[in-house]
């Protein structure tokens, strides 16, 4: 069973608590939008959930197994992680970049085993990268690169995807496209946790919302129930109006809240 559980997570840096007593359980099929002000600890939490950063206290488990007890390659096969603003460091072909997602499934030497080549072709097609297949990955546009990176992350069919601001810097069409794809992934039973700042898109596409404030979970639950003007006020110090329901939800920012109160 796919499930991501955190208990008593704490990360401290130089006496300051970046994360403090974070605990939750997420089941497969959920698309969790992680929101919070800059510096609230979103990226740190995602790194800890991905098993890239060992917490100072607490534990994360995936499918019932603590990450600390899991083999690195096994973990790499079961969850994918995308950092903020990923970029290609060499002008390799886009298809080679996507194929890197298969690394944890491959032996230490040699090319792609025969069975993987069709999967690569399928992934290239599914993420609308056919025209860019042989293009140097360093020359892709922001939207193309975002799709290529998501294709890279998902080609190994992980159970969970952890993505840090996958729609930051994307134009509205590409942002919508990405959100729909993440939503579809969750609908297939996978678990998606993604940090983001666009509350309207989060409200429309994410099944769940988790809000962080100063390293603590301020709220976590189904999006429709969790995303309220009170929460936005408490987490961002912003007065907001939430109108509409489901796919028609709109979040309007009315102004900065009076911090003195």
């Amino acid at each position: 069973m796919t499930g991501l559980a955190a208990s008593g997570l704490a990360v401290r840096r130089g006496g300051r608590a970046i994360l403090d007593d974070v605990a939750f359980e997420i089941a497969g099929g959920a698309f969790v939008a992680l929101v919070g002000a800059n510096g609230a600890g979103k990226s740190t939490l995602l790194s800890v959930l991905a098993g890239l950063l060992a917490p100072d206290a607490g534990e994360v488990s995936l499918g019932g197994t603590p990450l600390a007890a899991m083999d690195r390659r096994e973990l790499a096969r079961r969850r994918a992680y995308l950092p903020q603003n990923p970029r290609a460091e060499w002008p390799i072909a886009t298809e080679r970049l996507v194929a890197l997602g298969m690394t944890p499934h491959l032996p230490a030497f040699g090319g792609l085993p025969g069975g993987w080549e069709p999967r690569l072709t399928d992934a290239i097609a599914a993420w609308d990268l056919k025209p860019q297949r042989m293009q140097p990955a360093t020359t892709l546009s922001g939207g193309e690169l975002a799709r290529a990176m998501l294709a890279r992350a998902l080609i190994g069919e992980p159970q969970a995807l952890i993505a840090d601001e996958p729609i930051s810097g994307l134009d509205p069409a590409h942002a919508l496209d990405t959100m729909q794809r993440l939503q579809a992934l969750a609908a297939q039973g996978k678990l998606v946790v993604a940090a983001m700042h666009d509350l309207t898109l989060a409200a429309r596409h994410a099944t769940h919302l988790m809000a962080l404030r100063d390293g603590r979970v301020a709220a976590f639950g189904p999006t429709a129930r969790t995303l309220t003007p009170d929460l936005i006020h408490a987490v961002f110090d912003v007065e907001a109006r939430v109108t509409g329901k489901g796919a028609r939800t709109v979040v309007d920012y009315l102004g900065l809240a009076d911090r003195g109160r």
């Binding site: 790194s47 991905a50 890239l52 690195r72 390659r73 973990l75 790499a76 096969r77 994918a80 992680y81 995308l82 950092p83 990923p86 970029r87 290609a88 460091e89 060499w90 002008p91 390799i92 072909a93 080679r96 970049l97 890197l100 997602g101 690394t103 944890p104 491959l106 230490a108 030497f109 090319g111 860019q132 042989m134 293009q135 140097p136 990955a137 020359t139 990176m149 890279r152």
Partner: protein
């Protein structure tokens, strides 16, 4: 947009191996004493009997073997480091081991040990390389940038000691010997030198050859490479040990040779679609061929004083840098 082109997987290694073989065979024929193919083959058949036999088995063959080992060490180390650091200017000397090796060898010359025991120069060179590598490791843990900075610090410390050794050289002749040694040469190297350096070089090459998958994954940056199951802290140690063994042993036997480790990966990269793992083997083969060519140059270019290997590679290296700049200006926006 221009598509990425890459030769099929086995073409470039095969091509580079063929070039290396051709250059290696040519290197047996070329030198101060000219030998006909018939004399050469007869000499190989009966090493003790003839002058040709002695020239081939005791002079040219060890020279070619050593050139191949050292060139491969430099080429593969350069490719592995450039892949690991995602920096096309990374060079095998970056981690301080070459300067460490040079310092060890120069200390041997300083005390005149090589007159009593010829292998003392490479032996102390090896010790120097290992010491420098250990120092880089001690200070360089924690990240890629830390490793580079530690390497630069160790490198400059070693150069400071080198300058000091030259400054306080016991005699002008010793100072001359030191500076000439540092220019690098494959002449007067025997099978003993190979026996000493080969195990270290081969061990280093074997370690670096395992880094293919991780240098590929690093094309996605460090965070994603870690997320794909690699422990980068361990990978950095492996790379340091591999480069330390290979380049440390190579430098301690032939002296400082620039350019090969930096250039070989650049020459290979466009033909393999810029895939870091696929630059490794061809870079080793091409590095070996380049060093052999440079060594042939030291033999056939007629000069009164021996033209040193490091001088040729440096002379070739400078125009290569200009070419790199011009190409980069075309590629970069």
């Amino acid at each position: 947009m221009k598509p990425v082109r890459a030769l099929p997987a086995y073409v470039l290694p095969a091509l580079a191996a063929a070039v290396l073989l051709a250059v290696a065979v040519a290197s047996l024929f070329l030198g101060r004493v000219s030998l006909s193919p018939a004399e050469l083959i007869a000499g190989l058949g009966s090493p003790q009997g003839s002058l040709a036999g002695l020239v081939v088995t005791e002079l040219r063959l060890p020279r070619a073997v050593l050139a191949i080992l050292v060139g491969a060490a430099l080429g593969l180390s350069g490719a592995a480091l450039q892949g690991l650091l995602r920096n096309p200017l990374a060079d095998p000397g970056l981690l301080g081991v070459s300067n460490g090796a040079a310092l060890g060898a120069v200390i041997a010359i300083y005390f005149g040990l090589q007159h009593a025991f010829p292998l003392s120069t490479p032996l102390l060179g090896l010790a120097g390389a290992m010491g420098a590598g250990a120092l880089t490791f001690a200070f360089g843990r924690g990240g890629t940038l830390t490793l580079i900075l530690a390497g630069a610090a160790v490198s400059s410390l070693m150069s400071a000691f080198l300058a000091m050794a030259l400054n306080f050289a016991p005699s002008p002749y010793a100072a001359y010997e030191m500076s000439v040694w540092m220019l690098g040469s494959l002449s007067e190297r025997s099978w003993d030198h190979i026996a000493l350096a080969a195990p270290f070089i081969l061990a280093g090459l074997a370690i670096l050859a395992t880094l293919g998958r991780v240098v590929d994954a690093l094309a996605l940056g460090e965070a994603q490479a870690e997320s794909l199951g690699f422990r980068l802290d361990r990978v950095r140690v492996l790379a340091l040990v591999g480069v330390g063994l290979a380049v440390g042993a190579a430098t301690s036997v032939v002296g400082s040779v620039s350019f090969i480790g930096l250039a070989a990966p650049h020459l290979v990269r466009p033909f393999v679609g810029y895939q870091p793992s696929r630059t490794l083997l061809p870079s080793a083969l091409l590095g070996a061929a380049l060093l052999l060519l440079a060594d042939i140059g030291t033999r056939v270019i007629p000069t009164n004083t021996e033209l040193r290997l490091g001088v040729i590679t440096a002379l070739l290296g400078a125009p290569f840098f200009f070419w790199l700049v011009v190409r980069l200006r075309k590629v970069a926006p």
